[in-house]
Point group: C2
Chain length 194, copies 2
DNA sequence: TGAATTTGTCAACAGTCGTTGATATTCGGA
DNA sequence: TCCGAATATCAACGACTGTTGACAAATTCA
């Protein structure tokens, strides 16, 4: 009676959550190929067959593990002068805050050798980065500017979360904001040479 | 008598080269895990056992395939005002010129899920990017500045060669130089906020 | 020519992978 | 309490992996 779901209190809906958590952890560490269903099951202290029972295949499990909300309306920039600052702050909030971050790292780590993940990453930056950038400057030019912004953001993520390049890992959030913010500002608004 | 090697004219040294070529192509497309020895052998029209015969394991084959010279003394920047320009031009010459480029793409694509490749990438940017950056500005600060430069360069490479993000692929070399050059200049010299 | 060495072919090994079905265990409701 | 349904276990499948050794063909050198 203390259930929150209307129909299914479902005792071992908990198992499903355990599997998903284990899957996220291993996908983050080793990517799609590197994390086997048996490894995930072992980490969840459960039989490999249960993984298939609940999620129907490894692909579906991966899709669920890489799923995240990524609410976009948070970046509502009012003045053009601070758009670079707003983008990098939002980036940090997303990537360094827990829930969504793991989904992004999963995608990025698997994107290099998994076409589904790669397409998902392209989607994210086409539907999230581009609209924000498009709101400022020449709309016909938005694609190129968003591409440059994406290159810097993805590079930062790659160095900091995947490769763990020491000097990039050592950067504080404030340092990132102060250094990368103006660059994104330049890219997003099309300042400098064309 | 027309041999160039002193001792081994070695008729099927050619086979070894064929295997290496096939390996490079498949490693570039699918990364370390995605390219199997059987696939590589099939592409080289040869028996899988020969791959092991000539290179002793898949790891050694990968190491050989990802090997490239990357002659560093080319970037001798004379004046500080053009270091950003020099870095991005050198980057483009390396990545868009054939022989070394494939090695870099192989490394980058596999780095996300292969620790050997990841370490190699860290090495490249620690030994190639950092010294160039360190020559200008505060030496104590060189690590951070080189890290920022690396984040932009690796992001550009990821978007252009791995993810193939359409707007980034569409950029001409001149556009890249004009847009990214000043950013690298800013990062490398430590201009702007600290 | 014949012998020796290189080069290539074939089948199989032990292991891992995702996935499946039959079977056992546990649990909620009568 | 007992029964049916949900939940979990187990063994095995076919396919794939890197790697190995025994054997055949080709080439080289005398």
């Amino acid at each position: 009676m203390s259930t929150n779901q209307p129909k299914k209190p479902s005792k071992s809906e908990r198992t499903k959550a355990q599997i998903l958590e284990a899957a996220r952890e291993l996908f983050v560490q080793h990517g799609y190929d590197g994390a086997s269903i048996r490894d995930i099951a072992a980490r969840a202290s459960i039989d490999p067959a249960m993984v298939i029972r609940y999620f129907h295949s490894k692909d579906e499990l991966f899709a669920r593990a890489a799923l995240f909300d990524l609410r976009l309306p948070e970046t509502q920039v009012t003045d053009q002068a601070s758009i670079g600052d707003a983008i990098i702050r939002r980036f940090l909030r997303i990537w360094e805050g827990s829930p969504t971050a793991t989904g992004m790292v999963i995608l990025l780590r698997s994107a290099a050798s998994n076409e589904f993940a790669a397409e998902k990453v392209r989607d994210v930056f086409a539907n999230q980065v581009r609209p924000v950038v498009a709101a400022f400057g020449d709309p016909a030019d938005a694609g190129r500017r968003a591409g440059l912004v994406a290159s810097q953001l993805l590079g930062l993520a790659t160095c900091r979360y995947l490769l763990r390049l020491p000097p990039v890992v050592a950067l504080s959030q404030d340092e990132i904001i102060k250094n990368v913010g103006p660059v994104l500002q330049r890219y997003a608004t099309g300042a400098g040479e064309i």
